[in-house]
């Protein structure tokens, strides 16, 4: 669109001016946008936000292949959440099984979530380096194996160790 837009003040610098500007922009319908022209200069202008679209027409833009990838991604995320919540929803049974308190069991959740961020960073790198496919495949299979390992961990310490590893790989999804 080459319509003329009203110029705006540039984006503020520093904490306080930024806060003031953002707060006042919050109540304006138009958006403050920085535009770069061909010679590399920047100008700031007010742009009308794009119209809201019907979600179904947006979904129709996806090709069949897009949908396949989306659904596989959704399934991976669902399986991952299932694995995680299989623990959190069964804390009572697990605390009886290992004869520890529920607080001890939730320690496993803490460990899982703690290592999840580490795993996310590691698999983020792997995704950039080795591609999106094989790290993901390996990740899901290892997640499954760790679930099985959880079943066979006889002592509570083994259980905690397996759940920490699980967190590492959960971050990868």
């Amino acid at each position: 669109m080459s319509t003329f837009n009203e110029p705006a003040d540039p984006i503020a610098q520093g904490i306080w001016p930024t806060a003031k500007q953002s707060w006042s922009d919050l109540f304006k319908w138009k958006q403050r946008v920085v535009v770069y022209n061909e010679s590399g200069e920047t100008t700031t202008e007010w742009q009308t936000p794009p119209r809201l679209r019907n979600p179904f027409s947006l979904m129709a833009q996806l090709t069949a292949m897009n949908w396949v990838f989306f659904i596989v991604g959704l399934a991976a995320w669902t399986a991952d959440a299932f694995d995680f919540h299989a623990l959190s929803i069964q804390t009572v049974k697990l605390s009886k099984y290992y004869k520890v308190t529920k607080t001890d069991i939730s320690e496993a959740i803490t460990l899982t979530l703690l290592l999840r961020s580490v795993g996310a960073a590691m698999f983020g790198f792997a995704g950039d380096k080795y591609g999106r496919k094989w790290p993901m495949v390996a990740n899901m299979i290892i997640l499954g194996l760790l679930q099985i390992a959880t079943i066979y961990s006889t002592t509570f310490n083994q259980f905690l160790a397996v759940r920490s590893l699980f967190g590492l790989f959960m971050g990868g999804v």
Partner: protein
Amino acid sequence: MALENCPTDARGLMSGILQQGYSMGYVFAACANLGVGGAIETWKTVFWIAAGLSIGVGLIRCCFPESKQFLENKKNGHKKAPGAFWQETKLMLAQQWKMCVYCIILMTWFNCECLKYFG
């Protein structure tokens, strides 16, 4: 990966739907938990289901090709070496550290609020 194939216009909507996978996983886990009953040893059944699901999805993923974006980037020799990434990260932390601290606190707060009810 699930999103980088999506047309840009639809990406916002689709990422919102993708996040529901987490809730779906929780609901399915809850269903499985109800399904197996309350006996102590039954937690293992739920874990078996979970393992099957994860490995299943992994195997399904094998059947589909690598991301096009990744292959194109690789072909163009556009490899983001980890070194470059760290340099960018350092630059970001140097210039925007206040914003980073703010975002971490904000997200921590959001998560606390959310998990208080949702677990």
